[in-house]
Subunit: 519 residues, 2 copies
């Protein structure tokens, strides 16, 4: 992945004319292309430690060249991109180390602990909350531990419907390996094409089919983890049990701070014979959200369900006529069904009856297919918008149903107030539970000279609003360094004390991704 842009260069490109025209209605565009690649700071790690690492994992798997280190500098948040475009590569790792298996990872951790080198696990590099920015102070240097060689299907148990996957497998690679056996995982976050199995587990990722297939953490059956105190194998005995606390849930979401995930055992499923996506129109965001709530509380969720608010419906379609004409105030819902023909037919019939009864208007397959075709493309669009001077960023949160409207209004007004006139705040709900739902905000603003500072101020205001509303600081983007300052109110002092105690126990030298997660 090129360092300053999202994804596959073949998919990237200038802003499509249609979108450019639309955005032009709101903002004045200026062409500000990405800064040329800038110099990477020289590696700080003493030469003898580089030599030592080479002895651990092999000469060719310890890499120090500029391109390799630039590619593994920070993640893909808009602040990450802006810093890089501004020529700031100060967070570059000193060295990229590429272990081949669990034992390699364990050996690197042992060496790093002994020599006090910080270790930042690296999967797809798609982090958006500062999870790839190690604190350097007190360390001999920073290793980017690239898990890209660990890309095997390690085990498959078709009777139990489980597969054990290497942490470096990207979404499509994992699906391709499973497809050879007629199976699938079904985890499709927007970062699907580049993000990795280990990263999904370490950050509690959630994909676009979470209604049908669950969050990634709910798909996980077992984990193998290398820690400075040795190996942990969790969940290896059973789907669920009463053998004390569920320690899988302590490593899921631990963002490399407690150990490096080296194997992930997941529930797999037969590949669906049928996939149908369709659109529904709702008179308001509230009406659509209430319908989602009813489905979730009736245990009647389809595979995919997402609802755009009025703003997002208008701008994303870029077709004001599509939903009942301009100014109709409508909201678009995408509903997707996957499975056997019989299961899809039965679910679709029941959901259609329910949604119709709740006041929804079916829009047929076209909006659904259009969404499915472009489901992973938003990050490309973000780069193109940045090229023309428009800053686009996203943030997300989750709360209980009864708090949804309050949270929506609070975050929206915090962002609008912080960023001022000419800001567009869009929102959708794409993850629902019986008791609550996520809210995913997209913010576009014309920006200016101080774009980064203005965004960071707006993001802080949104975070404050989220905490004040009693919601969670993140539904599926993890804590990283960006959210760390807002974690304590969410989990409390006792919760923080527990995280610190586990960290001290497993990583007494504090080498594991220093600075992330733990306040």
């Amino acid at each position: 992945m090129p360092p300053t842009r999202w994804g596959d260069p073949a998919h990237a490109g200038p802003l499509p004319e249609a979108v450019r025209d639309l955005v032009g209605l709101v903002f004045e565009l200026s062409d500000t292309p990405a800064a040329a690649d800038v110099a990477v700071p020289a590696p700080q790690l003493p030469a003898e430690l580089v030599t030592g690492l080479r002895a651990v994992v092999g000469e060719e798997h310890v890499v120090l060249d500029d391109a390799s280190r630039r590619q593994r500098t920070r993640g893909k948040s808009t602040p990450d991109l802006l810093r890089q475009r501004a020529g700031d590569l100060s967070d570059a790792p000193d060295v990229v180390v590429r272990p081949g298996d669990h034992d390699d990872v364990q050996a690197v951790l042992d060496y790093a602990q002994q020599h006090r080198i910080a270790v930042v696990p690296f999967g797809g590099g798609t982090a958006v909350t500062g999870g790839l920015v190690a604190e350097r102070e007190g360390f001999a240097g920073v290793i980017s531990l690239d898990l890209g060689r660990m890309r095997s299907l390690l085990a498959l148990d078709p009777v139990s419907s489980t597969a054990t996957l290497g942490p470096g497998l990207r979404g499509p690679e994992a699906e391709a390996l499973l497809a050879e056996h007629g199976l699938m995982l079904g985890h499709y976050p927007q970062s699907f094409e580049f993000a990795t199995i280990g990263g999904f587990a370490a950050t509690r990722s959630s994909g676009q089919s979470s209604a049908g297939y669950g969050r990634f953490d709910a798909m996980v059956v077992g984990l193998r983890v290398a820690t400075p105190q040795g190996e942990a194998r969790l969940g290896g005995t059973s789907p669920s049990n009463a053998s004390g606390p569920d320690l899988r849930e302590l490593f899921l979401g631990s963002e490399g701070a407690f150990g490096v995930i080296t194997e992930v055992t997941v529930r797999v499923r037969p590949r669906p014979a049928v996939k149908e996506y369709e659109g529904w129109q709702w008179s308001s965001f509230a009406a659509g959200a209430d319908a989602m709530r009813t489905l979730a509380q009736s245990d009647l969720l389809p595979t995919v369900i997402r609802l755009s608010d009025e703003n997002e419906t208008a701008i994303n379609l870029a077709r004001p006529d599509a939903i009942g004409g301009e100014g109709s105030g409508g909201c678009l819902m995408i509903v997707g069904y996957e499975g056997t023909p019989a299961a899809v037919a039965a679910k679709k019939a029941a959901v259609t009856t329910a949604l119709t009864g709740l006041g929804g208007t079916p829009l047929g397959a076209e909006p659904g297919e259009a969404w499915a075709a472009g489901r992973f493309n938003a990050p490309y669009l973000r780069d193109s918008l940045l090229d023309v001077g428009v800053l686009v960023e996203t943030l997300e949160t989750v709360t209980f149903w009864s708090n949804r409207e309050r949270l929506y209004a609070a975050v929206k007004s915090a962002l609008e107030e912080a960023l001022g006139e000419g800001t567009m705040v869009l929102c959708h709900i794409s993850h629902v539970y019986a008791t609550g739902c996520s809210l995913y905000f997209t913010i576009a603003e014309a920006g200016g000279e101080d774009r980064l500072e203005r965004w960071l101020k707006a993001k802080a205001a949104a975070n404050d609003a989220i905490v004040a509303a009693g919601a969670s600081i993140t539904h599926h983007h993890a804590v990283g360094t960006d959210h760390r300052g807002w974690l304590t109110p969410e989990i409390g002092e006792v919760g923080v004390a527990v995280l610190r105690a586990v960290k001290r126990e497993l990583d007494p030298a504090g080498i594991l991704n220093p600075g992330v997660l733990i306040p």
Copy 2:
């Protein structure tokens, strides 16, 4: 609940003639009624500490009489009953303390920490793995912290479908409070009538409707916990999130070792309009288990599904003609549907088609209704059998589907070998997942003078077999003190180190339920 017997005296009684006849076919019966109530050791806690506790929670809520302490001595495992029948009340607590709310609990913990008094949280007293037996050494005494006054519906959020319940609410009490609002929880373990909400959470209980409503831990949305280091509130922001590790999962199953659960917020549901239970016949345990697996992996589970092996089918029905005549080798499956008429009809149609296609024979409603009528009665029968000298005990485990047959054979032969001739080992599957299932064994043997020792030896052999087969030491009975010796192979040295680190952090004086859970 009387101390040496199960449950409500009105439901207890001598062994029904039909069952007595059946058991008589296998064992020689001898009448050995329960020992008369024996003396309780005098309280060890110094008088000034009793006075101190009275100042904390109020005079009337600190109780030292024999009956109160006898009732809170150990739990309801067969070894617990045998020790009590043998006159051994050496594990009686010194004092029963009854806090009225979270602040009371916190104050008791603060006092107990200061004066080094062990605290054993007490709910329904239905523990079967030694969770109510505190190690006394090094403590000034042992408090039984009876949560029976904390029996309120503390909050209800009908929009989000959540309810916050006091930890001392027994199953029927919680359901009655929710029923006033047309809602229910749906957690029906065999101990339902007596066990409490706090206990369900602390032990990761699983109920007979787990296929439809989930394990208790999966119903939990939030927890409030009093620890010696202060209050923890977990899960209060959202159903699920990516804000680091899920710390709810560290307190669920912590058996009072990390804190005392003072509030439990759960997902609730509308009360079902329809409940239908029916029987199905399978040619073998394996055929029925494969059918359960197919349903689970197709996301097509009914509300209740359980399957008895050949032995359990024969003896539980006590009607050899009911399933195709004597020696048919059949296995009985109970399938239950609950919900709205439309949802029940749709699920029943789909499940019926699936089970018929897999070779099952429908037996109609009668076996299902019979099961539902007696679903909580097995522990009463156990007491009556003990009265006539037959020892009945249960143990359970869980594994992945591909390991089911191996585990079944290994545990069965370990028990039969350890207990010798004249032992009946019955088994059923009552909790299923996409990736695996539980196995619940019932063992009956004529016993003799050394019943307790022989059972403990057999239980250890079964535990060894479970560990050797790579399964979990418990699906829903928790670790307590009885399973503690088998936990390390399951969670590993690093897992144990994590539990110890959390314990040190939250309970540095080690006063919380000392001896349970942590190896």
